[in-house]
Symmetry: C2
Subunit: 242 residues, 2 copies
DNA sequence: CCATAGAGCTAGTCA
DNA sequence: TGACTAGGTCTATGG
Protein backbone atom coordinates (compact mmCIF):
# COMPACT_ATOMS: atom_id res chain seq x y z
CA UNK A 1 0.00 0.00 0.00
CA UNK A 2 1.66 3.21 -1.11
CA UNK A 3 0.44 6.68 -0.24
CA UNK A 4 3.11 8.55 -2.20
CA UNK A 5 0.67 9.48 -4.95
CA UNK A 6 -1.54 11.52 -2.65
CA UNK A 7 -1.91 15.20 -3.45
CA UNK A 8 0.28 17.50 -1.35
CA UNK A 9 -0.17 21.22 -0.71
CA UNK A 10 2.84 21.89 -2.92
CA UNK A 11 1.28 20.28 -6.01
CA UNK A 12 -0.16 22.56 -8.65
CA UNK A 13 -3.65 21.98 -10.04
CA UNK A 14 -2.46 19.95 -13.04
CA UNK A 15 -0.36 17.65 -10.86
CA UNK A 16 -3.19 17.31 -8.35
CA UNK A 17 -5.74 16.50 -11.02
CA UNK A 18 -3.51 13.91 -12.65
CA UNK A 19 -2.80 12.20 -9.34
CA UNK A 20 -6.52 12.04 -8.58
CA UNK A 21 -7.42 10.78 -12.05
CA UNK A 22 -4.77 8.07 -11.75
CA UNK A 23 -6.03 6.97 -8.36
CA UNK A 24 -9.64 6.89 -9.48
CA UNK A 25 -8.76 4.99 -12.65
CA UNK A 26 -6.87 2.48 -10.51
CA UNK A 27 -10.12 1.86 -8.55
CA UNK A 28 -8.88 3.47 -5.39
CA UNK A 29 -11.02 5.29 -2.88
CA UNK A 30 -10.15 8.99 -3.14
CA UNK A 31 -10.60 11.58 -0.40
CA UNK A 32 -10.05 15.20 -1.39
CA UNK A 33 -9.95 18.31 0.77
CA UNK A 34 -9.97 21.71 -0.88
CA UNK A 35 -11.93 24.78 -1.92
CA UNK A 36 -14.83 23.99 -4.18
CA UNK A 37 -18.30 24.87 -5.39
CA UNK A 38 -20.97 22.18 -5.71
CA UNK A 39 -23.88 22.11 -8.13
CA UNK A 40 -26.61 19.48 -8.15
CA UNK A 41 -29.40 19.11 -10.67
CA UNK A 42 -31.90 16.32 -10.44
CA UNK A 43 -34.75 15.51 -8.11
CA UNK A 44 -33.94 18.83 -6.46
CA UNK A 45 -31.60 21.71 -7.26
CA UNK A 46 -28.86 22.90 -4.95
CA UNK A 47 -25.78 25.06 -5.14
CA UNK A 48 -23.02 25.38 -2.57
CA UNK A 49 -20.87 28.48 -2.83
CA UNK A 50 -17.11 28.22 -2.67
CA UNK A 51 -15.92 26.72 0.58
CA UNK A 52 -13.56 24.15 2.05
CA UNK A 53 -15.07 20.70 1.87
CA UNK A 54 -14.26 17.01 1.85
CA UNK A 55 -15.15 15.00 -1.22
CA UNK A 56 -14.97 11.21 -1.36
CA UNK A 57 -14.97 9.33 -4.65
CA UNK A 58 -15.55 5.62 -4.16
CA UNK A 59 -14.38 3.07 -6.75
CA UNK A 60 -18.01 1.92 -7.01
CA UNK A 61 -18.91 5.33 -8.45
CA UNK A 62 -20.45 6.82 -5.32
CA UNK A 63 -19.47 10.44 -4.67
CA UNK A 64 -19.99 12.13 -1.30
CA UNK A 65 -19.60 15.80 -0.36
CA UNK A 66 -19.42 16.01 3.43
CA UNK A 67 -20.17 18.98 5.60
CA UNK A 68 -18.72 19.55 9.06
CA UNK A 69 -21.92 19.14 11.04
CA UNK A 70 -24.22 16.27 10.33
CA UNK A 71 -23.75 12.62 9.47
CA UNK A 72 -25.67 13.10 6.26
CA UNK A 73 -23.67 14.49 3.33
CA UNK A 74 -24.31 17.89 1.78
CA UNK A 75 -24.45 16.33 -1.67
CA UNK A 76 -23.86 12.93 -3.13
CA UNK A 77 -24.24 10.61 -6.07
CA UNK A 78 -25.04 6.91 -5.56
CA UNK A 79 -22.97 3.98 -6.81
CA UNK A 80 -24.65 3.69 -10.20
CA UNK A 81 -23.21 7.06 -11.25
CA UNK A 82 -20.49 7.58 -13.84
CA UNK A 83 -17.80 9.97 -12.68
CA UNK A 84 -15.41 11.97 -14.86
CA UNK A 85 -12.54 14.07 -13.58
CA UNK A 86 -11.09 16.85 -15.68
CA UNK A 87 -9.27 20.17 -15.60
CA UNK A 88 -10.83 23.19 -17.31
CA UNK A 89 -9.50 26.37 -18.96
CA UNK A 90 -9.64 28.27 -15.65
CA UNK A 91 -7.30 25.71 -14.09
CA UNK A 92 -10.08 24.24 -11.96
CA UNK A 93 -10.53 20.54 -11.36
CA UNK A 94 -14.04 19.43 -12.29
CA UNK A 95 -15.60 16.28 -10.89
CA UNK A 96 -18.74 15.52 -12.87
CA UNK A 97 -20.87 12.61 -11.76
CA UNK A 98 -23.91 11.58 -13.77
CA UNK A 99 -26.64 9.09 -13.08
CA UNK A 100 -29.62 8.04 -15.15
CA UNK A 101 -33.04 7.12 -13.77
CA UNK A 102 -33.49 9.63 -12.43
CA UNK A 103 -31.20 11.67 -14.67
CA UNK A 104 -29.06 13.69 -12.31
CA UNK A 105 -25.78 15.59 -12.40
CA UNK A 106 -23.47 16.46 -9.55
CA UNK A 107 -20.71 18.86 -10.50
CA UNK A 108 -17.90 19.73 -8.10
CA UNK A 109 -15.49 22.47 -9.12
CA UNK A 110 -12.25 22.69 -7.15
CA UNK A 111 -10.48 26.03 -7.28
CA UNK A 112 -7.75 24.62 -5.08
CA UNK A 113 -6.87 21.19 -3.71
CA UNK A 114 -4.98 21.07 -0.45
CA UNK A 115 -4.56 17.38 0.08
CA UNK A 116 -5.89 14.04 -0.96
CA UNK A 117 -5.60 10.48 0.31
CA UNK A 118 -6.00 7.42 -1.94
CA UNK A 119 -6.33 3.78 -0.93
CA UNK A 120 -7.45 0.43 -2.25
CA UNK A 121 -10.74 -1.00 -0.94
CA UNK A 122 -10.34 -3.61 1.80
CA UNK A 123 -13.10 -4.58 4.19
CA UNK A 124 -14.34 -7.84 5.45
CA UNK A 125 -17.27 -6.53 7.39
CA UNK A 126 -19.52 -8.39 9.74
CA UNK A 127 -23.25 -8.03 9.29
CA UNK A 128 -25.47 -5.92 11.46
CA UNK A 129 -27.27 -7.83 14.19
CA UNK A 130 -30.52 -6.88 15.80
CA UNK A 131 -32.43 -5.95 12.64
CA UNK A 132 -36.14 -6.44 12.17
CA UNK A 133 -35.44 -9.58 10.18
CA UNK A 134 -33.46 -11.01 13.11
CA UNK A 135 -36.44 -10.18 15.31
CA UNK A 136 -38.78 -12.03 12.92
CA UNK A 137 -36.61 -15.13 13.20
CA UNK A 138 -36.63 -14.98 16.99
CA UNK A 139 -40.42 -14.59 17.02
CA UNK A 140 -40.94 -17.44 14.58
CA UNK A 141 -38.93 -19.74 16.87
CA UNK A 142 -40.64 -18.36 19.96
CA UNK A 143 -44.17 -17.22 19.06
CA UNK A 144 -45.11 -17.33 22.77
CA UNK A 145 -43.34 -13.95 23.05
CA UNK A 146 -46.38 -12.66 21.15
CA UNK A 147 -49.10 -14.90 22.56
CA UNK A 148 -49.42 -18.35 24.11
CA UNK A 149 -50.72 -20.96 21.69
CA UNK A 150 -49.93 -18.89 18.61
CA UNK A 151 -48.58 -20.76 15.57
CA UNK A 152 -46.70 -18.92 12.83
CA UNK A 153 -47.55 -20.33 9.40
CA UNK A 154 -45.89 -17.86 7.01
CA UNK A 155 -43.13 -15.27 7.01
CA UNK A 156 -43.45 -12.28 4.66
CA UNK A 157 -46.76 -13.56 3.25
CA UNK A 158 -47.38 -11.67 0.02
CA UNK A 159 -50.81 -10.17 -0.60
CA UNK A 160 -51.68 -7.59 -3.24
CA UNK A 161 -50.97 -4.55 -1.03
CA UNK A 162 -47.67 -5.71 0.43
CA UNK A 163 -46.06 -8.40 2.57
CA UNK A 164 -47.45 -9.48 5.94
CA UNK A 165 -44.55 -9.81 8.42
CA UNK A 166 -45.92 -12.86 10.22
CA UNK A 167 -49.09 -14.80 9.49
CA UNK A 168 -50.45 -17.49 11.79
CA UNK A 169 -53.35 -18.99 13.70
CA UNK A 170 -54.18 -18.67 17.37
CA UNK A 171 -55.31 -21.42 19.74
CA UNK A 172 -58.97 -21.12 18.73
CA UNK A 173 -58.18 -21.21 15.02
CA UNK A 174 -58.52 -17.52 14.21
CA UNK A 175 -56.17 -16.28 11.55
CA UNK A 176 -53.70 -13.67 12.78
CA UNK A 177 -52.00 -10.91 10.81
CA UNK A 178 -48.92 -9.64 12.65
CA UNK A 179 -46.90 -6.50 11.96
CA UNK A 180 -43.59 -6.40 13.81
CA UNK A 181 -41.56 -3.33 14.78
CA UNK A 182 -38.27 -3.39 16.61
CA UNK A 183 -38.79 0.06 18.10
CA UNK A 184 -41.67 2.12 19.43
CA UNK A 185 -44.64 1.69 17.08
CA UNK A 186 -45.82 4.84 15.30
CA UNK A 187 -49.16 5.71 13.80
CA UNK A 188 -47.97 4.80 10.30
CA UNK A 189 -47.41 1.22 11.48
CA UNK A 190 -51.13 1.05 12.35
CA UNK A 191 -51.83 2.26 8.80
CA UNK A 192 -49.76 -0.61 7.47
CA UNK A 193 -51.52 -3.23 9.60
CA UNK A 194 -54.88 -1.74 8.65
CA UNK A 195 -54.00 -1.99 4.97
CA UNK A 196 -53.25 -5.70 5.28
CA UNK A 197 -56.43 -6.27 7.32
CA UNK A 198 -58.53 -4.47 4.71
CA UNK A 199 -57.01 -6.31 1.79
CA UNK A 200 -56.64 -9.82 3.13
CA UNK A 201 -59.73 -11.85 2.31
CA UNK A 202 -60.76 -14.81 4.43
CA UNK A 203 -63.73 -16.91 5.50
CA UNK A 204 -62.30 -17.18 8.97
CA UNK A 205 -62.16 -14.52 11.65
CA UNK A 206 -58.94 -12.50 11.32
CA UNK A 207 -57.15 -10.72 14.15
CA UNK A 208 -54.61 -7.95 13.61
CA UNK A 209 -51.73 -7.66 16.05
CA UNK A 210 -49.04 -5.00 16.17
CA UNK A 211 -45.94 -6.33 17.93
CA UNK A 212 -43.40 -3.84 19.29
CA UNK A 213 -41.50 -2.90 22.44
CA UNK A 214 -43.73 0.15 22.87
CA UNK A 215 -46.37 2.24 21.10
CA UNK A 216 -47.13 5.96 20.89
CA UNK A 217 -50.30 7.19 22.58
CA UNK A 218 -52.06 8.27 19.40
CA UNK A 219 -51.04 5.09 17.60
CA UNK A 220 -52.55 3.02 20.41
CA UNK A 221 -55.78 5.00 20.28
CA UNK A 222 -55.96 4.61 16.52
CA UNK A 223 -55.24 0.89 16.84
CA UNK A 224 -58.03 0.39 19.39
CA UNK A 225 -60.38 2.32 17.16
CA UNK A 226 -59.85 -0.38 14.54
CA UNK A 227 -60.10 -3.08 17.23
CA UNK A 228 -56.65 -4.37 16.47
CA UNK A 229 -54.37 -5.53 19.25
CA UNK A 230 -50.99 -4.58 20.62
CA UNK A 231 -48.49 -7.12 21.93
CA UNK A 232 -45.55 -5.74 23.88
CA UNK A 233 -42.19 -7.46 23.55
CA UNK A 234 -38.91 -7.05 25.41
CA UNK A 235 -36.16 -6.66 22.80
CA UNK A 236 -33.31 -7.05 25.29
CA UNK A 237 -34.81 -10.29 26.57
CA UNK A 238 -35.48 -11.71 23.11
CA UNK A 239 -31.96 -10.96 21.91
CA UNK A 240 -30.52 -12.04 25.24
CA UNK A 241 -28.73 -8.73 25.73
CA UNK A 242 -28.72 -7.32 29.20
CA UNK B 1 -5.27 27.73 7.32
CA UNK B 2 -2.42 25.48 8.26
CA UNK B 3 -2.26 21.79 7.50
CA UNK B 4 1.11 21.20 9.15
CA UNK B 5 -0.48 19.42 12.10
CA UNK B 6 -1.94 16.64 9.99
CA UNK B 7 -0.74 13.13 10.76
CA UNK B 8 1.96 11.82 8.41
CA UNK B 9 2.96 8.20 7.73
CA UNK B 10 6.20 8.81 9.63
CA UNK B 11 4.42 9.73 12.88
CA UNK B 12 4.27 7.14 15.62
CA UNK B 13 0.98 6.34 17.36
CA UNK B 14 1.59 8.73 20.25
CA UNK B 15 2.38 11.62 17.93
CA UNK B 16 -0.60 10.78 15.72
CA UNK B 17 -2.99 10.58 18.65
CA UNK B 18 -1.79 13.87 20.10
CA UNK B 19 -2.15 15.65 16.76
CA UNK B 20 -5.69 14.32 16.38
CA UNK B 21 -6.67 15.20 19.96
CA UNK B 22 -5.32 18.73 19.45
CA UNK B 23 -7.25 19.16 16.21
CA UNK B 24 -10.50 17.83 17.69
CA UNK B 25 -10.11 19.99 20.79
CA UNK B 26 -9.58 23.01 18.54
CA UNK B 27 -12.98 22.26 16.93
CA UNK B 28 -11.54 21.20 13.62
CA UNK B 29 -13.02 18.64 11.29
CA UNK B 30 -10.75 15.59 11.40
CA UNK B 31 -10.41 12.97 8.67
CA UNK B 32 -8.38 9.88 9.53
CA UNK B 33 -7.29 7.01 7.29
CA UNK B 34 -5.80 3.92 8.85
CA UNK B 35 -6.30 0.34 10.03
CA UNK B 36 -9.02 -0.03 12.59
CA UNK B 37 -11.74 -2.17 14.12
CA UNK B 38 -15.18 -0.74 14.78
CA UNK B 39 -17.62 -1.77 17.49
CA UNK B 40 -21.15 -0.43 17.86
CA UNK B 41 -23.58 -1.15 20.66
CA UNK B 42 -27.00 0.45 20.74
CA UNK B 43 -30.16 0.04 18.71
CA UNK B 44 -28.27 -2.75 16.93
CA UNK B 45 -24.92 -4.44 17.40
CA UNK B 46 -22.18 -4.48 14.80
CA UNK B 47 -18.52 -5.27 14.67
CA UNK B 48 -16.13 -4.56 11.81
CA UNK B 49 -12.92 -6.55 11.75
CA UNK B 50 -9.60 -4.86 11.23
CA UNK B 51 -9.42 -3.07 7.90
CA UNK B 52 -8.42 0.20 6.27
CA UNK B 53 -11.14 2.80 6.67
CA UNK B 54 -11.84 6.50 6.68
CA UNK B 55 -13.14 8.06 9.86
CA UNK B 56 -14.45 11.62 10.08
CA UNK B 57 -14.87 13.40 13.39
CA UNK B 58 -16.90 16.57 13.02
CA UNK B 59 -16.59 19.43 15.52
CA UNK B 60 -20.34 19.06 16.18
CA UNK B 61 -19.67 15.60 17.64
CA UNK B 62 -20.80 13.56 14.64
CA UNK B 63 -18.53 10.61 13.82
CA UNK B 64 -18.67 8.79 10.48
CA UNK B 65 -16.96 5.56 9.43
CA UNK B 66 -17.10 5.36 5.64
CA UNK B 67 -16.87 2.27 3.49
CA UNK B 68 -15.65 2.25 -0.10
CA UNK B 69 -18.93 1.34 -1.75
CA UNK B 70 -22.06 3.13 -0.73
CA UNK B 71 -22.99 6.67 0.16
CA UNK B 72 -24.25 5.52 3.54
CA UNK B 73 -21.60 5.08 6.19
CA UNK B 74 -20.69 1.73 7.74
CA UNK B 75 -21.07 3.18 11.21
CA UNK B 76 -21.73 6.58 12.68
CA UNK B 77 -22.71 8.62 15.66
CA UNK B 78 -24.95 11.69 15.34
CA UNK B 79 -24.08 15.22 16.42
CA UNK B 80 -25.34 14.91 19.99
CA UNK B 81 -22.61 12.39 20.81
CA UNK B 82 -19.66 13.03 23.11
CA UNK B 83 -16.39 11.86 21.62
CA UNK B 84 -13.21 11.02 23.52
CA UNK B 85 -9.88 10.19 21.92
CA UNK B 86 -7.25 8.26 23.81
CA UNK B 87 -4.30 5.90 23.48
CA UNK B 88 -4.38 2.55 25.28
CA UNK B 89 -1.75 0.18 26.72
CA UNK B 90 -1.46 -1.69 23.41
CA UNK B 91 -0.47 1.55 21.67
CA UNK B 92 -3.80 1.76 19.84
CA UNK B 93 -5.73 4.98 19.36
CA UNK B 94 -9.28 4.64 20.69
CA UNK B 95 -12.08 6.90 19.50
CA UNK B 96 -15.04 6.39 21.81
CA UNK B 97 -18.23 8.23 20.97
CA UNK B 98 -21.22 8.00 23.31
CA UNK B 99 -24.76 9.21 22.96
CA UNK B 100 -27.66 9.03 25.35
CA UNK B 101 -31.30 8.50 24.34
CA UNK B 102 -30.87 5.97 23.00
CA UNK B 103 -27.74 5.06 24.94
CA UNK B 104 -25.22 4.02 22.33
CA UNK B 105 -21.48 3.57 22.07
CA UNK B 106 -19.33 3.62 18.96
CA UNK B 107 -15.77 2.51 19.58
CA UNK B 108 -13.11 2.77 16.89
CA UNK B 109 -9.73 1.22 17.61
CA UNK B 110 -6.90 2.25 15.30
CA UNK B 111 -3.94 -0.13 15.19
CA UNK B 112 -2.22 2.20 12.77
CA UNK B 113 -2.91 5.67 11.39
CA UNK B 114 -1.54 6.47 7.94
CA UNK B 115 -2.66 10.02 7.47
CA UNK B 116 -5.10 12.58 8.70
CA UNK B 117 -6.36 15.94 7.49
CA UNK B 118 -7.69 18.63 9.84
CA UNK B 119 -9.53 21.82 8.94
CA UNK B 120 -11.75 24.49 10.43
CA UNK B 121 -15.44 24.47 9.47
CA UNK B 122 -16.40 26.93 6.73
CA UNK B 123 -19.55 26.65 4.66
CA UNK B 124 -22.13 29.15 3.67
CA UNK B 125 -24.46 26.75 2.00
CA UNK B 126 -27.53 27.52 -0.02
CA UNK B 127 -30.68 25.63 0.86
CA UNK B 128 -32.07 22.82 -1.19
CA UNK B 129 -34.75 23.88 -3.64
CA UNK B 130 -37.53 21.75 -4.96
CA UNK B 131 -38.64 20.23 -1.67
CA UNK B 132 -42.18 19.19 -0.88
CA UNK B 133 -42.64 22.38 1.11
CA UNK B 134 -41.71 24.42 -1.97
CA UNK B 135 -44.30 22.42 -3.87
CA UNK B 136 -46.94 23.20 -1.23
CA UNK B 137 -46.25 26.92 -1.65
CA UNK B 138 -46.61 26.67 -5.42
CA UNK B 139 -49.89 24.78 -5.08
CA UNK B 140 -51.27 27.23 -2.51
CA UNK B 141 -50.61 30.09 -4.95
CA UNK B 142 -51.93 28.07 -7.88
CA UNK B 143 -54.60 25.61 -6.66
CA UNK B 144 -55.86 25.25 -10.26
CA UNK B 145 -52.93 22.88 -10.79
CA UNK B 146 -54.95 20.50 -8.61
CA UNK B 147 -58.49 21.43 -9.69
CA UNK B 148 -60.34 24.42 -11.11
CA UNK B 149 -62.32 26.32 -8.52
CA UNK B 150 -60.44 24.82 -5.59
CA UNK B 151 -59.65 27.13 -2.67
CA UNK B 152 -56.93 26.28 -0.16
CA UNK B 153 -57.91 27.30 3.38
CA UNK B 154 -55.17 25.76 5.50
CA UNK B 155 -51.61 24.51 5.18
CA UNK B 156 -50.43 21.70 7.47
CA UNK B 157 -53.82 21.54 9.25
CA UNK B 158 -53.27 19.63 12.48
CA UNK B 159 -55.76 16.93 13.42
CA UNK B 160 -55.28 14.28 16.08
CA UNK B 161 -53.65 11.74 13.78
CA UNK B 162 -51.24 14.05 12.00
CA UNK B 163 -51.03 17.09 9.73
CA UNK B 164 -53.08 17.47 6.56
CA UNK B 165 -50.84 18.90 3.82
CA UNK B 166 -53.50 21.12 2.22
CA UNK B 167 -57.08 21.63 3.33
CA UNK B 168 -59.65 23.48 1.22
CA UNK B 169 -63.08 23.65 -0.35
CA UNK B 170 -64.10 22.92 -3.91
CA UNK B 171 -66.48 24.95 -6.09
CA UNK B 172 -69.60 23.21 -4.72
CA UNK B 173 -68.51 23.70 -1.11
CA UNK B 174 -67.25 20.20 -0.36
CA UNK B 175 -64.34 20.07 2.02
CA UNK B 176 -61.18 18.66 0.48
CA UNK B 177 -58.29 16.87 2.22
CA UNK B 178 -55.20 16.90 0.05
CA UNK B 179 -52.02 14.87 0.46
CA UNK B 180 -49.16 16.09 -1.74
CA UNK B 181 -46.18 14.08 -2.97
CA UNK B 182 -43.37 15.41 -5.14
CA UNK B 183 -42.64 12.01 -6.63
CA UNK B 184 -44.56 8.93 -7.67
CA UNK B 185 -47.20 8.18 -5.04
CA UNK B 186 -46.84 4.88 -3.20
CA UNK B 187 -49.35 2.77 -1.36
CA UNK B 188 -48.28 4.17 2.03
CA UNK B 189 -49.34 7.63 0.85
CA UNK B 190 -52.86 6.27 0.37
CA UNK B 191 -52.65 4.96 3.95
CA UNK B 192 -51.77 8.44 5.10
CA UNK B 193 -54.67 10.08 3.23
CA UNK B 194 -57.01 7.38 4.49
CA UNK B 195 -55.95 8.04 8.06
CA UNK B 196 -56.80 11.72 7.73
CA UNK B 197 -60.13 10.92 6.05
CA UNK B 198 -61.04 8.48 8.81
CA UNK B 199 -60.12 10.84 11.60
CA UNK B 200 -61.32 14.19 10.32
CA UNK B 201 -64.85 14.82 11.49
CA UNK B 202 -67.20 17.04 9.52
CA UNK B 203 -70.86 17.77 8.81
CA UNK B 204 -70.03 18.49 5.21
CA UNK B 205 -69.10 16.05 2.47
CA UNK B 206 -65.34 15.50 2.44
CA UNK B 207 -63.27 14.54 -0.59
CA UNK B 208 -59.79 13.04 -0.38
CA UNK B 209 -57.30 13.88 -3.09
CA UNK B 210 -53.79 12.54 -3.55
CA UNK B 211 -51.69 14.96 -5.60
CA UNK B 212 -48.51 13.68 -7.24
CA UNK B 213 -46.72 13.51 -10.61
CA UNK B 214 -47.56 9.80 -10.87
CA UNK B 215 -48.95 6.88 -8.87
CA UNK B 216 -48.11 3.19 -8.67
CA UNK B 217 -50.66 0.74 -10.01
CA UNK B 218 -51.47 -0.89 -6.67
CA UNK B 219 -51.68 2.49 -4.94
CA UNK B 220 -54.18 3.68 -7.54
CA UNK B 221 -56.28 0.56 -7.13
CA UNK B 222 -56.24 0.94 -3.35
CA UNK B 223 -57.12 4.64 -3.69
CA UNK B 224 -60.12 3.87 -5.92
CA UNK B 225 -61.23 1.22 -3.49
CA UNK B 226 -61.60 3.98 -0.90
CA UNK B 227 -63.19 6.27 -3.51
CA UNK B 228 -60.50 8.87 -3.08
CA UNK B 229 -59.18 10.79 -6.07
CA UNK B 230 -55.85 11.27 -7.79
CA UNK B 231 -54.74 14.57 -9.30
CA UNK B 232 -51.69 14.45 -11.56
CA UNK B 233 -49.29 17.39 -11.53
CA UNK B 234 -46.34 18.31 -13.72
CA UNK B 235 -43.41 19.11 -11.41
CA UNK B 236 -41.23 20.54 -14.17
CA UNK B 237 -44.01 22.89 -15.23
CA UNK B 238 -44.84 23.99 -11.68
CA UNK B 239 -41.20 24.74 -10.87
CA UNK B 240 -40.66 26.24 -14.30
CA UNK B 241 -37.76 23.91 -15.06
CA UNK B 242 -37.57 22.48 -18.51
C1' DC C 1 -38.42 15.75 25.49
C1' DC C 2 -42.05 12.93 22.26
C1' DA C 3 -44.49 12.46 17.83
C1' DT C 4 -44.93 13.19 12.98
C1' DA C 5 -43.35 13.42 8.28
C1' DG C 6 -40.04 14.43 4.59
C1' DA C 7 -35.74 13.01 2.24
C1' DG C 8 -32.30 14.30 -4.13
C1' DC C 9 -33.87 9.68 1.48
C1' DT C 10 -30.35 4.93 0.56
C1' DA C 11 -30.07 0.12 0.04
C1' DG C 12 -31.93 -4.35 -0.52
C1' DT C 13 -35.13 -7.70 -2.27
C1' DC C 14 -38.39 -9.73 -5.09
C1' DA C 15 -41.63 -10.17 -8.91
C1' DT D 1 -36.99 -2.24 -14.18
C1' DG D 2 -40.66 -1.09 -10.83
C1' DA D 3 -42.65 -1.66 -6.31
C1' DC D 4 -42.31 -2.18 -1.67
C1' DT D 5 -40.06 -1.84 2.93
C1' DA D 6 -36.57 -1.49 6.49
C1' DG D 7 -33.22 1.65 8.33
C1' DG D 8 -28.89 2.05 14.38
C1' DT D 9 -32.59 5.54 9.08
C1' DC D 10 -31.25 11.19 9.74
C1' DT D 11 -33.06 15.65 10.22
C1' DA D 12 -36.35 19.34 10.88
C1' DT D 13 -40.37 21.02 13.12
C1' DG D 14 -44.05 21.54 16.29
C1' DG D 15 -46.29 20.57 20.69
Amino acid sequence: MSYCDDVLPSDNMLESTNKIINAHTANKAVIIVGECTVDFNGRAWTYLDEGRRTVRINPSGAVVVSGTKSVKPKNWQTSDAKTEIDIDDDNHMIIRSKSSNPKEILEIRFTSVYKSIHYSPPENDVEVEGTEDDLHKKLISNPEYIENGLKILEHEKTINTGDIDLFGIDNIDNEVIIEVKRKKAQIENVDQLNRYMNTYDSDKAVRGILVAPDITESAEEYLKNYQYEFSKIDIAKIFDKK
